[in-house]
Symmetry: C2
Subunit: 245 residues, 2 copies
């Protein structure tokens, strides 16, 4: 009987949109892995898969199989948990055959990513390796030309899900505050930022690194509508870096 | 007279140590730029330069000039500001000649990086572009196998410089807390973590991604000595991801 070496599951961060923001390691593992897996919406769209199109295309010699996992967006986690269970079982089988699986994750797999759900199901039984990726907050900070955080500063990352008192306290305490995915909460969040006296510290950005990217440097110009999911508000106190140490 | 196109200054994040964690864009720009600049200590060591050794070496055809900037580590910023002024003037001259400059930054240029000091001196007069890089907190999170943050969580990033009340309040309020560079403050920080009842939430890591990498999963096992500068404490509350949404 031939001994079969166990395969490795790679949780690969593919960055926020620009295919050139893939790491060399992500690019290599995506090209080498016989199986490429990713989540997609019901419309069969996977942003992570689109980002690595070039890495897969430039690899025509290899025969790679793709596993597209349809994941509904809903608050109740029952269906999502079933899908993660099924996906874990399927990936487990492939790993046991001795093949590697590259699981694509937008941004960084361990920063607000869904890879954690597969990781907890598989890491005790298999080799699982996480390849960090550029997160959307890093790409946004570069795009707007303002450092996320400097040596003497404290930084906090919140989402639109958090409560008013938490958000206000954070705005008062932290020099640098990132609010991820304001989306439907945008008007409430902008109100809290104004209440904390920090409107002038903020920049709003949508679809970082994508063709539709939009930057608004004056938060008071943003209307009260619901914004898209892929958006962010970055706040930094005015700095005098010549004094900072 | 020939018109000379202005050059671009690229602030390039080279990641925390593993040369394969460079992005494709960083790799390309480092190979293309006629000038490569970086900070180094008085012993002439530059970690950023070491990380990209392979990217530069594999580019033998090109003639690249290197600009090593000796930067003393001291609290008083007077000398550092002089050096940044001189460096900005030198880079400005090169850009005016029409040449690009790749400025190497460990980790991400805008996340606790020193690139901000050059950025503020040059961005109004020149084309300056920031290429985000993998930060040490992302690489550490991947190395220890624990997600930095999940959908419903709040995350805070502090350093050993912050005061006891700020650190305690943050430990009480944020599910996910990263304390960068505990270094000389290590014993004090571990005491505060214990006081906040979060010792069991933490993992300590030194020299992420380097040969000397060391991970301690039980914070109570760390002695009271001063630790190295390149270290970090990551704290996450125990999660039941099957309930999280």
């Amino acid at each position: 009987m031939t001994k079969i070496a166990a395969g490795t599951l790679y949780g690969i961060g593919v960055g926020p949109g620009d295919p050139e923001l893939l790491t060399l390691k992500a690019h290599r593992l995506i090209q080498q892995s016989p199986y490429i897996a990713y989540l997609c919406s019901r419309e069969d769209r996977s942003m992570a898969r689109e980002i690595v199109e070039h890495s897969i295309e430039s690899n025509k010699g290899a025969k790679q199989q793709e596993i597209a996992i349809a994941m509904p967006m809903q608050k109740d986690r029952t269906r999502a948990n079933q899908i993660y269970d099924q996906t874990a079982a399927r990936i487990s089988e492939i790993l046991n055959q001795g093949d590697d699986v590259a699981f694509l994750c937008e941004g960084d797999p361990f920063f607000f990513g869904s890879f954690a759900y597969l990781y907890e199901r598989l890491q005790s039984k298999h080799h699982v390796q996480v390849i960090p990726g550029i997160s959307s907050i890093q790409a946004s900070s570069a795009a707007i030309g303002r450092p996320l955080t400097m040596l003497t500063e404290k930084m906090a990352v919140l989402t639109g899900r958090h409560s008013n008192p938490h958000i206000l306290q954070t705005l008062h305490t932290f020099e640098s505050v990132v609010i991820m995915k304001p989306g439907s909460q945008r008007a409430r969040l902008l109100g809290l930022i104004e209440q904390a006296g920090r409107t002038q510290d903020g920049v709003y950005i949508e679809y970082t690194g994508h063709a539709e990217e939009k930057i608004i440097r004056d938060l008071s110009q943003i209307d009260d509508d619901v914004g898209p999911y892929f958006s962010m508000i970055l706040l930094q106190r005015m700095r005098d870096t010549r004094k900072a140490n």
